[in-house]
């Protein structure tokens, strides 16, 4: 009996330790953003909130124009989500509710392409956008991944579960194909669409390598590129860096805490149910 109690206590203690390890860096990030750089390396460590937040923010804005960065990231990610969702949903619908020549070949090609490392496409893509004169544009950030096979796969799984009889009935009533898609099929796909949207948003919001390659001027920087540029300076002002990381992270955390279920489904790519 006592042994069981001890086991239980040990289990909770271990879980709490893991919990602290998981969450502490966030607290420290927040504390760091309110303190002067020098406070980050004091002995004993500074673990309390300071009063430097506004000053760090002003400095950060002077170095990278943080509000512009916030706008770029939001604009690019949201536009990407809307367009990619449209492209992938239409494709997924065709691949799940129609019989046609080449259907399986196309679907298998999409699936296989998910195994190809992104880096294998990086250089020709760069050359392509360079020849088109489209480097350093929003278009270059948004276009390449609009057809995202994993999103097609997710939406297809959900469309497969939709009763085909309803679609056929609507056809008999004379409804057009687009009308059937938008007013009969899509409305029941809201949870799947939400999860896929979150998945796509997170991917674009965090995208680093491609923006790093195509962006050349600071006014186009997205969060990952801007943050990364901060630690490239010879003298790093960690207070600024911490504010930057916080601005990039806190909205996502709030978004996550509010929409937990959808969010986890989206991040895991398990939009089903």
């Amino acid at each position: 009996m006592i042994q069981k109690q001890i086991k239980k206590i040990v289990q909770y203690v271990l879980l709490i330790i893991f919990f602290i390890i998981s969450v502490f860096p966030f607290y420290w990030m927040f504390v760091g953003s309110t303190n002067h750089t020098s406070k980050m390396f004091t002995n004993p460590p500074t673990l309390t909130v300071g009063s430097q937040l506004m000053e760090n923010l002003t400095n950060l804005n002077n170095s990278v124009g943080i509000w512009r960065v916030l706008f770029n990231s939001l604009f690019v990610s949201l536009t990407y989500v809307v367009l990619a969702l449209a492209v992938c949903t239409l494709a997924a619908y065709a691949l799940s509710k129609f019989e046609f020549k080449g259907r399986n070949a196309i679907f298998i090609t999409f699936l296989l392409s998910m195994m190809i490392p992104y880096q294998a496409t990086l250089i020709p893509l760069f050359q392509l956008f360079s020849e088109l004169g489209l480097l350093n544009t929003y278009f270059a950030l948004i276009a390449p991944q609009l057809c995202y096979p994993f999103a097609i796969f997710l939406m297809r799984q959900n469309f497969l579960a939709f009763p085909t009889a309803l679609i056929e009935a609507a056809r008999i009533d004379g409804a057009g194909e687009l009308k059937i898609f938008f007013s009969i099929v899509l409305p029941s796909m809201k949870p799947a669409l939400a999860a896929t949207a979150i998945f796509l948003f997170m991917m674009q919001w965090n995208n680093f390598m491609w923006p790093l390659v195509v962006l050349s001027s600071q006014d186009m920087y997205t969060f990952p590129v801007a943050l990364s540029s901060l630690i490239g300076f010879s003298i790093i002002d960690y207070g600024q860096v911490m504010v930057g990381i916080s601005i990039a992270t806190v909205p996502i955390i709030i978004f996550f805490l509010v929409l937990q279920k959808h969010f986890i489904a989206g991040m895991l790519g398990s939009a089903v149910k």
Partner: protein, 283 residues
């Protein structure tokens, strides 16, 4: 009642056009590029030169070795931890389950760049992690300037970032294991550990395989962490294939050579995925 035979193609058209332009074309173009080199402003065909050059390139050798070390050490540790945590949280009697789950998952919502930078600050010589270890009389450890600890830093950071993510995947899969299996095992006198080893793990095998493949593919492309956390250093100790592709392509502008490195990654991904599927014997 039927639809026009063009309807599905129209629905597919935007995706197919984008896919051909931005995925299929670049995949073939980089394959061709890997047999070319820039000579007096234009690309000329040089056969296997780029690949032969790879064989004698010590930095490339280091990049492969580092990537494999990180892969072989980090993925099993992370997946094991994720399994153990998921198993603990799967207990209905555990209090604060939701609280723990959210906490463990939280690192997975940070961007790769943001957490890499955060760890690069925490892991400095006078940083918070060394100060904490100092309380226990450990260290200070030169996390970012020793070639051993720099790899350890990347492994540590990645484990922090991804364990909760994998845990949630396992947790979801554990809900599908019928309770009767555990009840029957309990009646037979099997303890918790035995149940974990003989019921939970075998039932999760496909999911474990799935997470192992996903983690392997992403580790082979590792870029954000070495770029921001260690910048490949010290002395290429954390140079990875992803970072080496970037450096060759966009620091030295040697597109042909960078493409050859990228194709080595393509081949490694193909072989490892095939191997992992084969070992599992399911598909």
């Amino acid at each position: 009642m039927s639809y026009s035979k063009w309807t599905p193609y129209l629905f597919l058209a935007p995706a197919l056009i984008l896919f051909l332009a931005f995925t299929i074309y670049p995949i073939f173009a980089s394959f061709v590029l890997s047999f070319q080199t820039l000579d007096a402003g234009s690309y000329i065909f040089v056969g296997l030169d780029n690949y032969i050059r790879l064989l004698n390139d010590t930095v490339f050798g280091k990049a492969i070795l580092n990537t494999i070390i990180i892969l072989v050490v980090q993925v099993p540790i992370m997946l094991f931890l994720a399994l153990v945590l998921a198993n603990a949280l799967n207990n209905q009697l555990l209090k604060l389950r939701g609280f723990f789950r959210v906490g463990f998952f939280l690192p997975a919502v940070t961007s790769l760049v943001a957490y890499s930078i955060l760890f690069s600050i925490m892991l400095q010589d006078a940083g918070i992690i060394n100060q904490f270890l100092g309380f226990f009389g450990i260290g200070p450890i030169s996390w970012l300037s020793s070639s051993f600890w720099a790899k350890a830093s990347i492994i540590l950071a990645m484990t922090w970032r991804w364990t909760g993510y994998n845990m949630v995947i396992y947790l979801a899969a554990m809900q599908n294991i019928p309770n009767e299996l555990y009840e029957a095992a309990s009646l037979d006198g099997a303890g918790k550990l035995k149940q974990f080893l003989h019921i939970t793990i075998p039932n999760l095998k496909p999911v474990i395989l799935f997470t192992a493949i996903i983690s392997t593919i992403s580790t082979l492309q590792l870029f954000d962490e070495p770029y921001n956390l260690t910048n490949g250093g010290p002395a290429d100790a954390t140079m990875t294939l992803g970072l080496y592709i970037y450096n060759n392509g966009f620091r030295y502008f040697d597109f042909g050579y960078a493409s050859a490195v990228a194709y080595v990654v393509v081949i490694m991904v193909a072989i490892l995925s095939y191997f992992q599927l084969k070992v599992s014997g399911d598909q």
